[in-house]
C-alpha cells in the first residue's frame, strides 16, 4: 500500500488524476456490489416473508381468536410485522361485526401500544410509519398520540399525523385537528388537511360550525370548503348564514353545501347566490343548482345563462342541457330571451351532451303549432351555424399563428 501511494506521489500532478481514477473505479465497483447485494437481500427477505405469510394465513382464525398463544408469533419481528399488516388491511375492509375482533387482537398483542410508543418516542420515518399505522387501526386510544404529533417541528411528521388522524375517520380525531387549525398552528398541505377533516367529520358535520364561528380569513375559507362537501339538510339555517358571509370563498362553499340539501330554503338561497358579485360564487351556485331536484331552478338557470361571465353561462347551459324532458320548453325560453350568447352556449352544450339531435327531431315531428316549430327549428339551425362560426371567428380575431 505504501509502495502504491509513494508511486503515485512520484507521478506528480498526474498522481492526483490517478487517485481520481482509482476513486472512480472503486466507486463503480462499490455501486455494482451494492446493487447486487441489495437485490440478493431483498429476494431473500421477500421469499422468507412469503413463506411466513403463508404459514400464518393457514392459522389466521386461531391467531385472531387467541387460540394460538401470542408468544408463538409476537416475539418474532417478521411474524409480528406480517400479522400487523394483515390485521390493518383487514380493519380497512372489515364490517362493523368483524372490527371488534380484529381490534381486540391488535390490543391484546400489544401492537397498538407498541405503535403508540413509537409514535411518541421515535423520530423520523419510524415515527411516521407508526403514526400511519395508528391511523389505520381506527382505535380511539391512538388519537392522543396522533394529536401530539401535530405539534412536531417536522413537516413530514405533521403530514403523517394528519393523514393518520384522517384515516381513523372518527369524530374524536377531528377535534385536535380543528383546535390546531383554528389556533393557526398547523402547517400541512391544505389538501391533506381537508381530506382528513372530511373523513373525520363525515358523520358529524355540525362539529365544524362552532369552529367556523371562531375562525377568520383563510382558515374560515378552508373550513367552509370542508363544510361544503359534508353539509346536509340538518344544518338548516346555519348554511344561510354562511351564504351571506363577507368572504366570497365561504359563500361559494355555502353554495356547494346548499346543493346537497333539498330543503325549502335551498332554491331561494341559491337564487341569491347566482346574483353574487363574484363570478366563482355564481358559478358554484349554478353547479349546485344542478343537484337540486326542483323545477323552479330552470328560471334561475335561464337567468344565469345570460350571465356576464362565460364560465357561468357555460355551466348553466350544461345543467340545463341535462334536463332531458324539458329541453324543448327550455329552448323556447332561451330563444325568447333574445340573447345570442345564451342561445349559442345552450346549443353548444346540447351538442356536447348529444341531446341536440333529439331536440331537433322532436321539433321536426313535434305535436305543437307547426309554424312555431318550424321557426324554432330555423333559429336552432342558425344558432348551430353561428356556434361553428364563432369558433372560426375568434380564431381569426386572435390572428393566425
Amino acid at each position: 500500500m505504501g509502495f502504491a501511494s509513494s508511486a503515485i506521489e512520484k507521478l506528480g500532478p498526474a498522481g492526483l488524476v490517478l487517485k481520481a481514477i482509482l476513486g472512480s473505479l472503486l466507486g463503480i465497483f462499490l455501486l455494482i456490489g451494492f446493487i447486487i447485494l441489495r437485490r440478493w437481500y431483498r429476494a431473500r427477505y421477500f421469499r422468507r416473508r412469503s413463506e411466513r405469510t403463508f404459514a400464518l394465513r393457514t392459522q389466521w382464525d386461531d391467531i385472531v381468536s387467541g387460540k394460538i398463544p401470542l408468544r408463538n408469533w409476537r416475539l418474532d419481528p417478521l411474524d409480528c410485522e406480517i400479522v400487523e399488516s394483515i390485521l390493518l388491511d383487514g380493519i380497512e375492509t372489515a364490517t362493523p361485526q368483524q372490527l371488534p375482533e380484529l381490534l381486540d387482537c391488535l390490543r391484546q398483542s400489544g401492537l397498538i401500544d407498541l405503535r403508540i410508543c413509537e409514535a411518541r418516542m421515535e423520530h423520523g420515518w419510524k415515527q411516521r410509519t407508526a403514526l400511519l399505522a395508528l391511523g389505520r387501526t381506527r382505535a380511539v386510544e391512538a388519537i392522543p398520540a396522533l394529536a401530539e404529533a401535530l405539534d412536531s417541528p417536522s413537516r413530514e411528521t405533521r403530514i403523517a399525523a394528519i393523514r393518520g388522524l384522517g384515516r381513523t375517520a372518527r369524530r374524536e380525531a377531528a377535534i385536535p385537528i380543528l383546535d390546531c387549525v383554528v389556533a393557526g398552528q398547523l402547517d400541512v398541505p391544505e389538501h391533506a388537511l381537508k381530506n382528513a377533516l372530511v373523513n373525520c367529520c363525515r358523520s358529524c358535520p355540525e362539529i365544524l360550525l362552532s369552529y367556523l364561528e371562531q375562525s377568520r380569513g383563510p382558515v374560515r375559507e378552508l373550513l367552509a370548503r370542508v363544510m361544503g362537501e359534508l353539509a346536509s339538510a340538518d344544518l338548516g339555517e346555519e348554511l344561510l348564514v354562511l351564504a351571506a358571509d363577507p368572504l366570497p370563498e365561504v359563500r361559494a362553499s355555502a353554495a356547494r353545501a346548499l346543493g346537497g340539501t333539498n330543503t325549502s330554503y335551498t332554491l331561494p338561497a341559491l337564487h341569491t347566490l347566482t346574483n353574487d358579485q363574484e363570478w366563482f360564487v355564481r358559478l358554484r351556485a349554478v353547479v349546485a343548482l344542478g343537484q337540486v331536484e326542483h323545477l323552479g331552478k330552470i328560471r334561475i338557470l335561464l337567468r344565469s345563462l345570460c350571465d356576464t361571465n362565460r364560465h357561468v353561462r357555460q355551466r348553466a347551459a350544461w345543467v340545463l342541457a341535462q334536463m332531458e324532458p324539458h329541453l324543448q320548453q327550455i329552448l323556447e325560453d332561451v330563444v325568447a330571451s333574445k340573447d345570442d350568447y345564451a342561445l349559442q352556449t345552450f346549443i353548444s352544450e346540447l351538442e356536447r351532451s348529444g341531446a341536440i339531435d333529439k331536440v331537433v327531431s322532436k321539433l321536426e315531428v313535434g305535436s305543437g303549432h307547426e309554424s312555431v316549430q318550424a321557426a324554432l327549428l330555423e333559429v336552432v339551425e342558425a344558432a348551430r351555424r353561428q356556434v361553428e362560426m364563432t369558433g372560426k371567428a375568434t380564431a381569426a380575431a386572435a390572428g393566425t399563428p
Binding site: 463503480i28 451494492f34 446493487i35 372560426k392 380575431a397
Partner: protein
C-alpha cells in the same frame, strides 16, 4: 500557438471536471430526494385521493399528427386511466394519414358544433367531434400548422378543466400516473403551477391494447443506451433541479399545468422547436416578473412510457431537433441570464444550460482538436492525457451507474436480473462511443439552427401496439 493550446487544454480539463462534478452533486441530491419521496409514497393512498372530493378535474390534451398506428390504442389507454374526473381532447393536427378516420371508426365520432373560443391563436379549426359512446372524449380536427405547440394550444382552448395534462399520442401513461402526478399539485396547490412526471423507454416492453403488460429492456444496444440516458436525465437531473425550484423543462410527453396560467402567457410558443422547454422557461420568467411565489415540480413515480428511435437516422434527427429546441428556447430568453430579478433560474440553471448543455458539443469538438494538436506538439504529456481520459470515462460511468442504482433503490421498473445486468454493462459504453455520436448529432442541430432549418424532421416509429417482447 503553444500557449494557446496550453490555455485551451487547461480550460477544457476544468470544464470537463466541473461538468462531471456538478452532475455528481445532482446525483447525490437526487438520491436523497428520491429516497425521501419513496418514504412519502408509503403514506400515500391513491384510493383516498381518488375518492377525495377535492381532486380537481383534468383535461388530457393529446396532439396527434400522423399517428394512425397508435392513436386508437393510445386514446383507449388514456380513457382507462384511474382518475375520477377526466376529459380527453385529441387534436388531430392536419394528419395526412388515417388518424382521424381510425378515431371516427373506433369512437363513432359525430360532428358537434361546440362553442370554441380561441383565447390562443391557432391554425384554423375544421371540425369538432364528440363521441356518443365515450362522452369524455372530444376530438378537434384542425389544419396543420407544422408544429406540436399549435395543436396543444387548440387543446388548451377547448379544455374545460382547471388543470391540463399534455400527453404524446405515441406514449402510454401508467394507470395511476395521473393520480400520482396530481399529488404533486396538492403538495401546495396555491404555489405548484406545473408538475412533470418521468418519461421511460417503452421499446422492448409488452403492450396489449395500449396498456403496458410487462416492462422489459429493449434488445438493441442503441435503445438500451437511451434507457440509461432517460434514467439519468429524469431521475438525476430533473429531480435535483426541481428540488431547488429550478426545473428547466417538463417533458412534452407528460406534464400537468395550470390551464389559466399557460393561457395567460400565450400558451405554447407556436413554431418553438422545443415547445416544452420554451414553456417552462417562459413560466419561470412570467412568475418571477410578477414576483409571484411558485413551484414547478417534478415527481419521479408517475410514469409515461414512450417509444424511442430504433435506428440511427431517426435518433440523429431527434437529437438534432432537441438541440435546436434548446437553442431556440435559450436564445429568446438570454436576457434572463445573471439578472437578479430572475433569481436562481437566471443565476444557476440557465447558465448551466448554456455552458454545459448548449455549448457542450462545440467545446467537446474543439477539445478533440486542441488536445490532439497538443499531443502532437508535446504540449500535453501523453500519460497525463490518458489518465485524464480514463478518469473522465470512469467518473461519467460512475454517474451513469449511479442513476441505475437510483432506479434500483426507488422505482425498480426493470425487475429481471438480466435486465439490470445489461443496464449496468451498457453504462460502460455510454461514454464511448455513444457520447461521441450524440455530440455529432447535436452539432448537426446547431448547424441546422444557424441555417434556419427549424423543420420537425419526422422520426420513424414502430407504433405502440407493435411493441412486444418478441
Amino acid at each position: 500557438m503553444l500557449r494557446f493550446l496550453q490555455i485551451s487544454n487547461d480550460t477544457l480539463f476544468v470544464y470537463y471536471l466541473l461538468s462531471n462534478v456538478i452532475y455528481f452533486g445532482l446525483l447525490i441530491i437526487a438520491i436523497f430526494k428520491n429516497v425521501i419521496h419513496r418514504h412519502r409514497l408509503a403514506s400515500q393512498r391513491l384510493e383516498l385521493l381518488k375518492a377525495s372530493p377535492f381532486t380537481p378535474p383534468i383535461t388530457l390534451i393529446v396532439p396527434a399528427h400522423n399517428e394512425e398506428k397508435s392513436i386508437v390504442d393510445s386514446v383507449q389507454a388514456l380513457l382507462r386511466l384511474d382518475y375520477p374526473s377526466l376529459e380527453v381532447v385529441v387534436v388531430n393536427d392536419g394528419s395526412r394519414d388515417l388518424t382521424l378516420q381510425k378515431l371516427q371508426e373506433a369512437y363513432q365520432l359525430q360532428t358537434a358544433r361546440l362553442l370554441y373560443i380561441a383565447d390562443i391563436a391557432t391554425a384554423p379549426l375544421r371540425t369538432i367531434y364528440r363521441s356518443p359512446v365515450e362522452p369524455r372524449l372530444l376530438v378537434l380536427d384542425k389544419e396543420a400548422a407544422g408544429c406540436k405547440a399549435d395543436a396543444i394550444n387548440a387543446g388548451l382552448n377547448a379544455a374545460t378543466s382547471p388543470y391540463v395534462c399534455v400527453v404524446d399520442a405515441d406514449s402510454i401513461l401508467e394507470k395511476e400516473s395521473l393520480l400520482r402526478i396530481v399529488e404533486g399539485v396538492f403538495s401546495d396547490p396555491s404555489q405548484v403551477v406545473a408538475v412533470g412526471g418521468i418519461v421511460r423507454v417503452l421499446n422492448g416492453s409488452r403492450v396489449v391494447h395500449g396498456e403496458l403488460q410487462e416492462v422489459r429492456l429493449p434488445k438493441s444496444a442503441m435503445e438500451v443506451l437511451q434507457v440509461i440516458e432517460y434514467l439519468r436525465a429524469f431521475l438525476v437531473g430533473r429531480e435535483a433541479w426541481a428540488g431547488f425550484n429550478m426545473l428547466p423543462i417538463i417533458s412534452g410527453a407528460f406534464g400537468v399545468f395550470q390551464r389559466d396560467l399557460v393561457k395567460q402567457i400565450g400558451g405554447f410558443r407556436t413554431h418553438a422547436v422545443g415547445e416544452d422547454l420554451d414553456l417552462i422557461i417562459r413560466l419561470h420568467r412570467h412568475l418571477q416578473e410578477k414576483d409571484r411565489p411558485y413551484h414547478i415540480n417534478f415527481i419521479a413515480d408517475p410514469t409515461c412510457w414512450t417509444e424511442v428511435p430504433t435506428d440511427l437516422k431517426s435518433l440523429a434527427r431527434q437529437r438534432a431537433r432537441w438541440h435546436k429546441g434548446l437553442i431556440d428556447a435559450l436564445w429568446p430568453n438570454r436576457d434572463m441570464l445573471f439578472r437578479a430579478r430572475y433569481g436562481r433560474v437566471g443565476w444557476a440553471v440557465l447558465p448551466y444550460m448554456w455552458i454545459f448543455e448548449f455549448f457542450a458539443p462545440v467545446i467537446e469538438l474543439v477539445g478533440y482538436f486542441t488536445i490532439g494538436a497538443a499531443l502532437m506538439l508535446n504540449v500535453l504529456s501523453k500519460s497525463f492525457f490518458l489518465q485524464f481520459l480514463l478518469f473522465g470515462y470512469a467518473f461519467a460511468t460512475l454517474i451513469s451507474i449511479g442513476s441505475v442504482l437510483l432506479e434500483e433503490m426507488t422505482y425498480r421498473r426493470y425487475n429481471r436480473r438480466r435486465d439490470v445486468a445489461r443496464l449496468l454493462t451498457y453504462c460502460l459504453f455510454e461514454h464511448f462511443p455513444y457520447r461521441q455520436l450524440t455530440m455529432l448529432w447535436r452539432l448537426q442541430g446547431i448547424w441546422q439552427y444557424l441555417r434556419g432549418d427549424l423543420e420537425w424532421h419526422e422520426v420513424k416509429r414502430v407504433g405502440i401496439s407493435a411493441s412486444s417482447l418478441d
